[in-house]
Amino acid sequence: MALLRVENMTHWFGGLRAVHNYNLTIEAGQIRGLIGPNGAGKTTIFNLITGRYRPTEGHIYLDGQEITGLPPHKIASMGIGRTFQNLRLWRHMNVLDHVKMAHYSKITYGLIGAFFGTAKRHRQEAEIEERSLALLELVGIRHLADQIVTNLPYGDQRRVELARALATDPKILFLDEPTAGMNPDELIQMMEIIRHIHAELGLAIFLIEHRMKFVMDLCEIIQTLVFGEVIAEGTPDEIRNDPKVIDAYLGKEVET
């Protein structure tokens, strides 16, 4: 059974059809890519699946369970973690607290624990902290744990977002342009980190990306989205050679 299945999803923003008849199946452990020109509706698809918008039509199933229309925090706690295209970090919080915060749905000490500082709370907070530090280690920024995020360089902020998304314990990780604004060095590092977490945690990854080398190297299957519709789906080689994709997005090489 597919881990994530989207069936015939269509979404309208008023009179604008942003996504049309979108279908997706992701198996456990798969890395998939979503490419397409600006404004094609890639981020909208992310927002639809993660519950920020409710699709006008269609159904979304996670692990066979319908999640269409559930609030985002529910969907996140059921196993879809995500990062954002424009960093959305909490500017007054330090790195460790970011990762701890993403454990919110697993906290069971309740309000009594929060108000009165019970033993259960201290135990649980300590566990969360330990796990958070391990995740920071995984993305290679453990030494920055007590830094306020706004003081960090851009590449490290991206890693904080990644660690935070991993802390929600996702079965699928949605990465919205994980290398946007990165220099070539940071890009290579990010690619290694994504490979590393994929190998380490065995989760499925669904990513939006504009850098073709990155997508082609990482993904098993790639979808190309143009004006809200999937025009091609296949392996990197198939996509690279698909005339429709070349026409709409990749562009032809100039013959010399």
Partner: protein, 437 residues
């Protein structure tokens, strides 16, 4: 110019250097000795220096009325407060550091209790001098509760709520009605329903109940306004405040605009002190837990918070109701301190005061709220003889704070109790210091 400036700064730093090693315990013992000294020799000393009685608020009142007393007041404050506290803190720094370390090693709780007992003893002795001091101390403690609870909403959650006087009024009236109906012979409500001797024991329950009533009131504000972000909460909560005020103005059964009197004087200093500590403790616990820090996540990026499994509407609701609860408790205490409430107390001026204390002290900070409430109240009492000018000086100060520290004096700081109570010298250093001798 700048060299001169740094010269002064470094000299001040050098002067302060020996005191930086004094632990909290040392300061508290010093202050305790100072208030004890004032109790025993304060009156004769004050008479000797030309004052009619002990200057209640460090002589501000005397000085503002009669500038000729300035030297006397300075000598008094120096002899009674500054010199004893400074000397004792400095001389006992080493043993106090060792004691503080030992206490912390035994248990956090023991250490906190010892410090709290000392703090209470200081407040008790200090306010024993006059009824006025007692009143100011208790009202200041109530203000601390109010400020802290509003900071949860306006600071930690980053919304702008204006209904705190309303919640306070709900709490004040609920507590008053219950204690009068149940335990007091009153010509409005008739004979007490329960033996008055039980009253002080039921008082905590009455306060919790009044907090709960405020929380229910908060629910009425929260349900319509938390669906969206932005100015809605500010507007709805302001409306709520006025509704509550006019509700009590028109409710003849509780005295209408004339107010309601005859509350028994159960809100003594130890009771108010205990409730304040409880309030600070629970709020500090809350905002330092991951559940409480979710408030900051909601404030700084609700979308991201949602995607990170944070139940944002529950988080906001809980915090808002929690804040209202403490405002209600503060209101109940307030009514029993004064033994009288009227709706006029809970108006825009009260709102301005609470907001001023929050923003003056510092957003998103427990220490900030305590500092804000205490300094605002002290200032407000000290400048009382200036009458109208007080309301020029205090706003001016607020404006200055907003210009130079836009988020308040001590903003965005965790209140780490352990750090506060820690010995300020490492044990090795102590040993080293001894060896060097």
């Amino acid at each position: 110019m700048s060299a001169n400036h740094t010269g002064i700064k470094s000299r001040l730093q050098k002067m302060w250097q020996p005191f930086s090693q004094v632990p909290m315990l040392g300061w508290l013992v010093g202050a305790l000795v100072a208030v004890g000294l004032e109790m025993s020799v304060g009156t004769p000393l004050a008479r000797f220096l030309g004052m009619s009685k002990i200057p209640v608020l460090f002589g501000f009142t005397f000085v503002l009325k009669d500038p000729l007393l300035i030297p006397g007041v300075i000598v008094y404050v120096l002899l009674i407060y500054i010199l004893p506290i400074g000397l004792i803190a400095r001389l006992t720094a080493r043993p106090m550091n060792r004691l503080a370390a030992k206490l912390l090693n035994t248990s956090m709780l023991a250490s906190v209790l010892v410090h709290l007992i000392l703090l209470y003893a200081i407040l008790h002795l200090w306010s024993d001098i006059s009824d006025y001091r007692l009143l100011v101390t208790r009202l200041t403690l109530v203000a601390v509760m109010l400020t802290l609870s509003l900071n949860v909403v306006n600071g930690y959650m980053g919304e702008f709520s204006c209904s705190h006087p309303g919640f306070m009024a709900l709490g004040a009236y609920t507590a008053s009605v219950f204690s009068i109906v149940l335990f007091v012979q009153d010509n409005r409500f008739g004979p007490p329903l329960l033996p008055p001797g039980l009253g002080p024991f039921a008082f905590p329950l009455i306060l919790i109940l009044s907090g709960a009533v405020s929380a229910v009131g908060a629910l009425l504000v929260a349900i319509p306004s938390f669906r969206t972000r932005g100015d809605y909460l500010a507007i709805i909560s302001l409306a709520f405040m006025f509704i509550v005020k006019s509700l009590f103005e028109n409710l003849e059964i509780v005295g209408g605009a004339r107010g309601l009197g005859g509350q028994p004087h159960w809100a003594s200093l130890p009771i108010v002190f205990l409730w304040t500590i409880l309030c600070i403790w629970t709020i500090n616990n809350f905002v330092r837990s991951t559940l409480g820090k979710a408030l900051n996540a909601v404030r700084d990026g609700e979308l991201a918070a949602d995607a990170m499994t944070v139940n944002t509407s529950r988080t906001k609701m809980v915090a808002f109701l929690f804040a209202a609860f403490w405002a209600g408790v503060a209101g109940g205490l307030f009514a029993h301190i004064l033994g009288y409430v009227n709706p006029g107390t809970f108006d825009l001026k009260k709102l301005a005061e609470v907001l001023a204390m929050v923003y003056f002290g510092g957003l998103n900070s427990v220490v900030g709220s305590i500092v804000g409430a205490v300094s605002y109240n002290a200032l407000s009492e000290a400048l009382r003889p200036l009458e109208l000018f007080k309301w020029i000086i205090i706003p001016l100060l607020l404006i200055l704070v907003m210009i130079f520290r836009p988020t308040g004096l001590i903003a965005f700081k965790d209140f780490d109790v352990r750090k506060l109570l820690e010995p300020k010298q490492k044990p090795e250093e102590v040993e080293h210091g001894l060896a060097a001798r």
